[in-house]
Structures are given as C-alpha cells and as structure tokens.
Symmetry: D2
C-alpha cells in the first residue's frame, strides 16, 4: 500500500467532506488521518486527508482524477506521495546551533531531508557540513564596491543550481533580496529569535532584555517580502527572569530556535501546512 496526502482549500459549502470522502473511497483508498478547518469569518474550508491506496494507483492518476472534483467545488489542492524527502539547502551565518541540529536530526532519522548543501556567508559551518558529508558553499560578502549585490547574485545562482525543493534559513543573518524571496515563496522557512511580532529586526534578545520581558521565544515562518512578517508556522517560548542577561537569553533561546525550526520543517515536509491571508493552518 502507498500513502498519499491531499491538501484542500475552497469556499465553505455543505457537502464537501462527503464529496472528498466518497472520492477517496472510490479510488479504493482508506483514510488514515483527516483533519479539517473552517474559517468562519471568511467562509473558507481547509482539509488535509492522508490515505492509503494500492501501489498500482500512481500519484499522477490520483491528481488527474481529483482535478475534476476540485473544479466542481472551486478548490485549490495539492496531492502528494508520502514520505516526501525534499532536496534542501540550509543557509546559515556564524551561529551553528540550528544547522547542527538539522544535520543531526537528518542523520538519526528524525527529519527526512535530502540535504543538497549548506550555504553560508561565513566559513564557520564548513567543518560541520563536511563532517556530516554534505557539500558546503561559501558565499561571502566582500568589501569591494557592490560586494553585497554580488553576493546576492552568487547566492541566487547557487540556489538555482542546487535545484532544491526547500530552503531553510537556519540563522542566516543577511536580509535576502526580493528576487530570491519571490523565487522561493512558500518554500523558504526562516527561524526568528523572538516571539513575533515582538522584537522584529536585529538583536531581538537585546531588545527583550531591555524591555524586561519574562518570556522569550522563537518563531518559524515562511519568508515573505516584508521582513519578519511572513506566515507563522510554529512558535514556542521559555520563561526567563531578571537573572538572565543577554548572553543567557541567547543561550536559552538556542534550544527554542532549534526545536521550533525543526517542528516547522517537519510540518512542511509532511504536507501539513496551508497558508492563507498571511496566516497558516497547520494540521496536527
């Protein structure tokens, strides 16, 4: 038996669930997980259906078959085989905890990533990437005039040539140019080291310390045109106190960043995320 996963969004209307379930039964499928959500305010319906079916039924056949139903109900949908092992580029700068964590998880089987390369504007991650057997690309910003633009162009080339399905910004500290953001829309996940929307921009742990907050957080989100404003996939927080200076917050925050980023990547890889109105539906 194979497993496939259907993600649907459409205007809410009576009978959708029955129609979808009937279709699945019609292709000999058995629903193993199904979750749905209706946004009442905007009357939009979302559903994730994971089902098993004979391995003689190809994913292309399923997609073609469902397309007719989707047209009738004005649905947007995606239909994919599970497990998905996306070809992935991991970008980082000098903080290595997120990239180390992602590579570790891939190694011991916690995350099913096919890591195409680690890419960084610094050389710090080179040894780590090599230890885990992955290519490393150093794409530095030089001091030459136009150095930043040159770096961005080179980065775009590297990402294109790697032909990846997913880009993870694992504490990559440079703002990306709009062209790259647009090219990877919905396929680029960033970890920000605050509970957004608090403390956007640079040095969030410094900002958190200066404001005297009693919790710090981390936020994983799809990257969009406006910095730190993309759809949030996962967030978590940890309590802190007056005893924690900026260095303590930074250290405590590392565990938040790694676990929140991994949670978001897993949700994406398992086709659990729908975005809509700059928000996400993340099916559990």
């Amino acid at each position: 038996m194979n497993t496939s996963v259907l993600l649907i969004s459409c205007p809410d209307q009576p009978g959708i669930v029955a129609a979808v379930a009937t279709w699945v039964a019609g292709v000999g499928g058995n629903i193993v997980h199904a979750e749905q959500h209706t946004d009442r305010h905007d009357q939009v319906f979302f559903q994730r259906v994971e089902f098993t079916h004979a391995d003689t039924v190809t994913i292309e056949t399923l997609r073609a078959g469902f397309a007719a139903l989707a047209a009738n109900w004005n649905m947007e949908f995606s239909l994919n085989a599970l497990p998905w092992r996306p070809r992935t580029a991991i970008l980082c700068s000098r903080h290595l905890h997120c990239v180390a964590d992602l590579l570790s998880r891939t190694t011991y089987g916690d995350l099913g990533l096919d890591v195409a390369a680690v890419v960084s504007n610094h050389e710090d991650a080179q040894k780590l990437a090599t230890s885990f057997g992955h290519p490393f690309f150093h794409v530095p910003v030089t001091d030459a005039p136009g150095g930043r633009a040159e770096q961005e162009a080179m980065l775009a080339t590297v990402l294109d040539s790697l032909d990846v399905d997913l880009v993870i910004l694992a504490r990559y500290m440079l703002v990306l140019p709009p062209a790259i953001v647009t090219a990877w829309s919905g396929r680029m996940i960033n970890i920000h080291h605050s509970f957004l929307p608090a403390f956007v921009g640079a040095n969030p742990y410094r900002q958190a310390h200066d404001r005297g907050v009693k919790v710090i957080g981390a936020t994983a989100h799809y990257v969009s045109e406006i910095l730190d404003e993309g759809p949030i996939i996962a967030q978590d927080v940890e309590r802190v106190s007056h005893r924690d200076d900026v260095a303590d917050l930074t250290r405590i925050g590392r565990d938040l960043e790694t676990t929140v980023l991994a949670r978001a990547v897993r949700a994406h890889v398992e086709h659990r995320v729908l975005t809509w109105n700059n928000r996400t539906v993340v099916f559990g």
Copy 2:
C-alpha cells in the same frame, strides 16, 4: 439554526467518513467542526461531528434517523444538542479553590453549568455556596460506629435526589464507595493533585517533595473502580525547584488543579470526550 453534536466509535472500515458526511448533508446539516481519530493498534474509529441544521429538525428525529446508519456500521454513538447545560453537583471537602473557581466560572459565563448544589463532608464551603446562590448540603462523617457507611448512604441519597447529570469531585477527599462510583460511571470527574500515574493516593505534594521532582502536576479523570486509575481527561504541569517546600507545592498546585479541572469539565460539557480501553479521546 440549531447546533448538534455527534460522537461515534466503531470498528475502522473504509467509507465511514463519507457515510456520516452524506447523512449530515441529507438532513440539511452543515458540518462546522469535524475531527476523527483512528486507533491503529485496535482498529477503532472515533469521530466528533458538530453541525448546524434547521431548528425544525428535533434532536429526537436526528437520533432516530442516525440509528439506522449506526446499526449498519456497528457504531456506538451519542447525538446531543449544543449548548448543553448539565445539572451538576459539586463535591468538596476543606480545600475550596476548585469549588470557588467552578462557581466563579459559572457566574461569569466561562462554564455552562447548572449548579444543583454544593455538597461536602465539611462546612467550610457553605458560605461560598450561599454567596453564589446555590444550595449547600453538609454530609459529615460522624464519630458514631458506622459513621462512614452512614455518610456514604446519605451522600448517595443526596446525589440521587438532586437528579444531576454530572458530579464533579472538586477536591472531595473521601474515597467513594463502589455503588456511587458505578452509578455515576462516565458522569463523575475528579481532580487529582499529581501528574498521574505518579503519586497516587494521599498527600501527593508531600510525595512529590520527598522524591525531589522538578515538575508537579494535576490530573482530571473520570472516576472508576480503582482509585486514581480512571481515564485521564486532562493534565497539566508546572516547574518547581528545591526552593519549594510542601506548602509552596500546594499553593502552586492550586492553579493547576483549577485550570485542569475546568478544562476537563468543559470538554465533557461540550461532548468532546470518548472513553475507550481506560483511555480518552478528547477532540479539540
């Protein structure tokens, strides 16, 4: 429009979701929330379907109509109108935080309980119950020979005469006799002041302190024949440290107990809980 809620359990088999959804559509209903769960190990299917329908369709009509479908699929089901405002007896002893919290929530509209009475083996809660306008029954254990049996008999009488749908043990500190437990099976919720199965029985905060744990918890569960072994509905925990003595744990635990008990009661009142194999499915 009226709202009704359907709770189903049956052997897992292809086509159930389609059959239920088709039935809802057939009575002119629109599904507003649906969640399902399949226990893979035992091949059991569970579903909660909340749907709106014309107020001309009575709950009795719906039940009669669904019964035929249920028979075909070997389903156990319940079908009820929302909101449900169960007639409720709250039992307590000397600790008043849970009963105070439940009465407060009822007063400001957080919980939809129809409080029939507060019942206690001590008089401490009398003033509180009266302040909130509820009857109070004092059912003490006397020192006379057979005092405990007499108390249990009187308690059974009081509960019967109150004709309640739900009994909440809000820190009621006496073990109930089997006859009462059986009579209210699936309709009696207890709060235990530990993260069960750790620290069953008496003085769990003392036990927690002596073991030196770094988290304490509270557990709300349906009462069953074996003490502290019933199906768990809700649990939560809070971090503690060496600084917290038994009195501190007791104080910190109060907030856990009130919120966990309220969460469990709400789930029950909204028909979100199915029990099976001494475990619960709690739909979100």
Copy 3:
C-alpha cells in the same frame, strides 16, 4: 518570632552581602531567605533578605537601625513586616474573570488582600462584589459633555477616600489620566491580555488572531505614564492554533490573565519586586 523583609538596591561594591548579613546577625535575626542580583551592565546590586527576629524588636527600630548602614553604602531600601495585608481597590469593567478570581483567592486564603472595594465603570461586577461581602462603587462615564473627565475626577476621589495601599486593574478598560497614574506609581498593577510588547492597545486577541500567532499571552505590569509600557512583573503564554478564533483566544486567555495577575499581586504583596530602569527584579 516575627518575620521582616528587607529590599535593597545600591551601586555594586565588594562587601555589601557581608555588611547586610552582619547587621541581621547583630539584631539577633536569622536569615530564612536571601536572594541577590547584580546588574553587571550598570553595576547595580539588588537584594531581598527575609529574616526572623524577636517580636520585641519593632519594625520601626529595625528601620532606624538599618538606615545608618544604608547611608554608608548609598542604598535605597525598604523594610517591612510580613505578612503584609494591603488595603486594596480592585477596578474592573465588564469582564469579570479577574475580579472573580481575586475575590475567590482572597476568600480561600490564597492571596492576603484586604479588599476595600470593587470599583467599576459598569454595574456588571456589583452582584459579584456583594456576594463576597465587599463594597461596590459604580463610577460610570456619562454621555453628558465632559462625562469622561467627570468620571476620572470621581474615580480619583473614590480611590483617595478608600485610602488603599494597592490598586489592581483587573481588566479595567479605560485609560487612566496621568494624575491617577502618578499618584499610584509603583502601587498600581494592570493585567494586559497579550505578551507585551506584542499587541499593545485595544483588542489584543483580535490582533493576535489576525497575525496568526501560535502562542497568546498575558502580562501583569506596574502602570506607568505610557500605555502598556510599564515595568513587567509577570508574563505567561499558552499555545494556540488556527482552530482558535477570536472568541477561543479570549476564553483561553482568561486563565492566563487570572493566573498571571494573581502571580504579580502575590509578588508585590510579599515584597519581592524591585523596579529599576523600567524593568523589574522579582525575587522567587
């Protein structure tokens, strides 16, 4: 034996701890809790020392005795007897969960408040206050020209006449005039229904929903001149998901608001809070 508590802040310098401990020993005191904190960046030292001493030594004697030491070390200090049972005014509007919770806690002994009155711009809390045996003052904003200013004047008069030590804004939804804020500086605690600094101002649950966050929070803080910018005493958060609409967030948030506000009030009443640079040191 009596218990007293000393709160100190001063420039950091070697020997402070020894000097304070020696002074306590000198008055026959025994330290039962001591916690200190040094802000390295600004070189400021903070300490809380709780000590027992003979009941023949009055708090006035202790204060006079410590004053000389404090002058030598350039300390600001407060020295108070425990337990403190501050005369308290609770202000609220239409949401009653926080005021109900505070009154419940006072009743069953969780919080040691001497509730002078409940004050509100609406009548909703009247019955609740009366049930718990507390005076209620209705200070409404009328539609008459100048109605708001008149309300503010009346409120100031009520607070003054109540002669309270502490004002708790338990979901009081009107912004207070500077004169009142200044008069109760450091003695007025507000609960804001977001994890500040995210979602300042009105309708934070609506804002949180629209941003699509995966955690919501509550913040208790001293009220200062700038709305929602005062020193944070306590914060906590709860995970939420796409399933939670604004009404759900509001309901989930109630438990956060009550527990966070109670935690802040307790810290204040137990003389655990020092404020400095718009931040707090909250000793555990």
Copy 4:
C-alpha cells in the same frame, strides 16, 4: 581576574552568610552570584557563591584558606575554578539523538565538555563519533556464556582507562552493575524517557500510551544503586494527545530528552548541583 565557585552545605545556624561573605571579601574577592537555600524541615543550609578574584590567588590557596572556616561551621564544601571543562565519556546504545545533540553542543560551544570518547554496546554511533573527531569504543554483549558479565568488565576497564571526570548515559540501554554505579557516584548522569517516578523501567513511552496520559516527560538524574531512583537534576514535559501513538511519543520525547539532558549536564559542569537526601538543590 579569575572566577571560582564555592558550594556549601552545613547545619543551619545564624551568621553563616555573613561569615562566608566576610571570607570572600577577605581574599579580595567580589561576589558576582550568590544563591542560598535552607531546608527548614531538616535545618540544613546550602549555598553557591561565585566570585572573582586576582589571578595570583590559586584555587589551592583558596581551598586551604576556606577549610578552616568550614571546620568551624561543620560545613561540607567544594571550591573550584570556572570554567570547568570535564573530561567526559558519553555512553549510548542505538538511539543517537542524545549523543548527537551533546556532540553538536560541544562543537558550537554550548556545552564545555572535553569529550574523551563515545562508548556503546552497538556500532550505530561509530560514524557520528568519528564525524565529530572523537574516539569510539564498541563494547558489545556477545552471545557467549557470561557475555554480559564480560561486557560489564570491559566497560569498567574502558571507563577507568579513559580517566574521565563525568560519564553521561545518553540513552545507554543496559543496566549498569553496582560496581560501576558506585565508582561513578555523583559523576554519572542518566536521561530517562519519562517524568519519573511515573513509568520506571523499560518502554516508558509504551507505558505512557497505555495509561493514556496527556503529558510525557524526560528526567535527568544522577545514577544510584536503585534503577531510576537517583537524585533528579532536571525534568521537563510536553503535552500530547490521543492522536499520538507510541511512535509519536517517542519522536516528541526526543526533543525533551536532549534538552533535559543538556540542561542537567550544564548544571553539573557549572557546579550548580548539591545532592542531599536523594534530592538535589540546583542553583539557577
């Protein structure tokens, strides 16, 4: 300036804090962190004092100097330089997430371990250890008669020859013989995949699933003679639901295990832990 850390336990008595603070001042030290705790029930006093001092004052001089004071007050104490970089052996079996996490943290500077070797009864971790540049010892249990005893003897030899300060059981799944447990008493930290004392022994996630708990946890503790009964250093938990089968609990638990183990190791390495009465005092 150097930094040293003093850990003290002794019978509670007035004047201790002053005596210690005076001694620190006397050696030209400046206290940068100090935390104390008194167990009221047993009248035992605990303190951790971190202080800076001239680098011309050696740790040996400090120890010799403090010994006289300690004798007067009947203190047990340790006095060590910070940072400490303990020579460490990491033991594991087939689950690699904890060892991978510890090695990652060491690499990017989160934990200051001097990893002497990774040791395992299986070969799975060999590649990982080698990737990070650490020796690997394979100490398997053979099927030969006496294979287990032979393995235990070889393990003892390996640990002795490595001359380590600390042994971390990072999901090492064999019960250790008493001789090894005794030899490394107070210097061997284990991670157990439940919130002890719930679910001792084998397959705690299976046990947790069968009991239907709504939270799972992990516990890091010093290893003692009785399995899973040693002093608890750190614990944390995560909420789960009926949707999570044993495989899900195992996956969710991995993040708990890695972060809780790392937290405990850090506390040990920073000399923050005192054990007493099979409990710990962990200074923050």
